[in-house]
């Protein structure tokens, strides 16, 4: 089969590789009909995530048709159209039973690596480095799905492939970011980063009852999307002082909750951002956190700062004193996708939201390297790329 393989920083290629097979009794093999390039794939593409190996198959946001199941798989059958969560969860450990599937005890074959780095290991992820299990990803014609009963969710008739695709990652990720904000009627939520996760965080904040959402970015096409599709107020951080502007727009009290949908590669134009970039370049610091600093400083007293952008390592100059002085609640972590999938798919089915609004590019799998390049460089007004492995039209 053909698959998008990683060969080094900014070097992904579509290669002919062996087809996946059922290895464990609870595995399934899925024929991929749609796969997306996720913003977090760009951390791998850029070479910021260690433990990638040449030839690793990329992709953790995908859906398709079940073509083979292991002998212990009961809930899904061959022929089912399914969307697959990017987190691999066993469904039976303590954390899965609490609904914290991203913290699953049992799905990372390289748990020892994560234990050395983080103290404890979370769940394995599709196509996201050997630190997260080294599983082959879904930007391919076929993919092996471990614990298929727990993850793969059948898509009801009337919901298209593209509408269901994002229920496996960016929609729940944005939704959970907003869910953690404990939004109450009248609340104002500020969202840093208007990539796909930020766009879904904006939509989700409204779905959860926010009165106003303020979207912060610098790319006009992303701010336009946030305003047009998300109905958010927008703020260009290169044109204004974010902190003062947020104060002014919230009657001097600051947003009730702040969502950081940027993560470890924050771009900024102020002195601290340049300092971070320099330190990251020499590996004195692994993560750049301009957005996080602004969020902590801008948030109202007693508010919530919700981190959904990915952080991987060590941070420097985190204004923890401001967080402490203001009694903030910081919430973070990988998305517990499983618990959000069914309810969000129902919202899609009921027509409350059409997730396809974020798609700007539809490419054949063969053109994935081009898709990565334009997404990375924010060229061609690119916000979200969807790959179709089996469609011969490009």
């Amino acid at each position: 089969m053909r698959a998008v393989c990683w060969y080094g920083p900014r070097d992904v290629r579509v290669e002919e590789v062996p087809d996946p097979v059922v290895v464990n009794p609870r595995d399934a093999v899925v024929k991929v009909t749609r796969a997306a390039i996720c913003g977090s794939d760009l951390h791998l593409y850029g070479g910021q995530v260690p433990t990638m190996q040449r030839g690793d198959i990329m992709g953790h946001e995908f859906m398709g048709e079940v073509v083979e199941v292991g002998r212990e798989v009961r809930r899904v059958r061959v022929g089912d159209r399914v969307v697959v969560p990017f987190v691999i969860a066993c469904g039976r450990c303590e954390f899965c039973e609490r609904g914290l599937t991203a913290l699953c005890d049992n799905t990372n074959p390289n748990a020892w690596m994560a234990e050395e780095l983080y103290g404890f290991a979370g769940a394995g992820l599709f196509g996201y480095s050997h630190l997260y299990g080294g599983y082959a990803g879904g930007q391919a014609e076929y993919v092996r799905v471990p614990f298929a009963d727990v993850g793969a969710l059948r898509i009801p008739d009337g919901v298209s492939d593209e509408q269901a695709l994002f229920v496996g990652d960016v929609f729940p990720t944005g939704y959970m970011a907003a869910d953690r904000c404990e939004i109450r009627p009248g609340d104002t939520v500020a969202v840093w980063g208007c990539g796909p996760v930020g766009q879904f965080a904006i939509k989700s904040a409204y779905l959860l009852g926010a009165d106003r959402v303020i979207a912060i970015d610098r790319f006009p096409e992303r701010l336009e999307m946030a305003a047009r599709d998300g109905k958010a107020e927008t703020l260009d951080y290169e044109a204004t002082d974010v902190h003062e502007e947020l104060r002014a727009r919230t009657g001097g009290r600051g947003p009730d909750a702040c969502i950081d949908a940027v993560g470890m590669e924050a771009h900024g134009s102020t002195l601290d951002a340049i300092y971070d970039r320099a330190k990251q370049a020499v590996w004195a610091e692994t993560d750049r956190l301009h957005a996080l600093r602004q969020a902590i400083l801008a948030c109202r007293k007693g508010g919530v700062v919700s981190l959904t952008g990915v952080y991987g390592g060590f941070l420097d100059k985190v204004p923890l004193g401001a967080g402490f002085a203001k009694g903030l609640t910081l919430r973070m972590g990988q998305t517990h996708v499983h618990r959000y999938m069914a309810p969000l798919l129902e919202r899609v089915q009921r027509g409350e939201i059409d997730p396809t609004f974020v798609i700007t590019h539809r490419l054949n799998l063969a053109d994935a390297p081009h898709g990565y390049a334009i997404f990375q460089e924010k060229r061609d007004r690119c916000v979200k790329v969807v790959l179709t492995p089996w469609d011969q039209r490009t």
């Binding site: 290629r13 080294g134 599983y135």
Partner: protein, 185 residues
């Protein structure tokens, strides 16, 4: 759990082998405590004596002294390793919490124990936890690496909780080419 498939056993063996390889890079203690103390004292005295003699012989004595101190502090002797001398049977403990009843865990353990040979001198103790928190499992293995104990407990937990051991063995990648004909032909 009625019987574990041979494929799963193979996976565990692979996992334990990987653990052993990782452990191999770390030096194993093969010198007894009394010998270690003697090495540090003798080595230290030799080095101190050598420091007063500024000659080639003094330098040699100094090197020998430092090597002995190293032997004592790390507990690893390269000579013993070459001679195949094994150290004191230090018991390596490990613990894990498993969300399964004691009977299930013991049944899985009976299925997997007996290999690799490192696990022959293993002792497993199960303690039920209150309020549905599962079972605390303590494993002590004589003369094993900490990695072997950790990975064995991990495999035991995965089998007891999920019925299989997570693996990426045999999955596809762009590293090897054309080993099997593709489905897409």
């Amino acid at each position: 759990v009625d019987g574990v498939a041979s494929t799963t056993l193979a996976v565990i063996r692979g996992g334990v082998r990987t653990a052993a390889r990782r452990a191999g890079r770390r030096r194993v203690v093969n010198v007894t405590d009394a010998e270690r103390l003697a090495s540090v004292v003798t080595g230290g005295a030799l080095a101190a004596f050598a420091l007063r003699r500024r000659s080639l012989g003094g330098a040699m004595l100094g090197l020998l002294g430092s090597a002995l101190v190293c032997r004592g502090t790390t507990g690893h002797s390269t000579v013993y390793e070459a001679m195949g001398v094994q150290g004191p049977a230090a018991a390596v403990p490990g613990t894990v919490t498993i969300r399964a009843p004691v009977e299930v865990i013991e049944a899985v353990w009976r299925d997997v124990s007996g290999f690799p040979h490192e696990l022959e001198e293993a002792e497993l103790r199960c303690t039920p936890l209150p309020a549905g928190r599962g079972t605390r499992v303590d494993l002590t293995v004589a003369r094993a690496s900490i990695e072997t104990v950790t990975e064995t407990l991990r495999a035991l937990k995965q089998l007891a909780e999920t019925g299989e051991v997570a693996t990426t063995a045999g999955q596809s990648s762009g590293r090897r080419r054309g080993s099997r004909p593709g489905r897409s032909g």
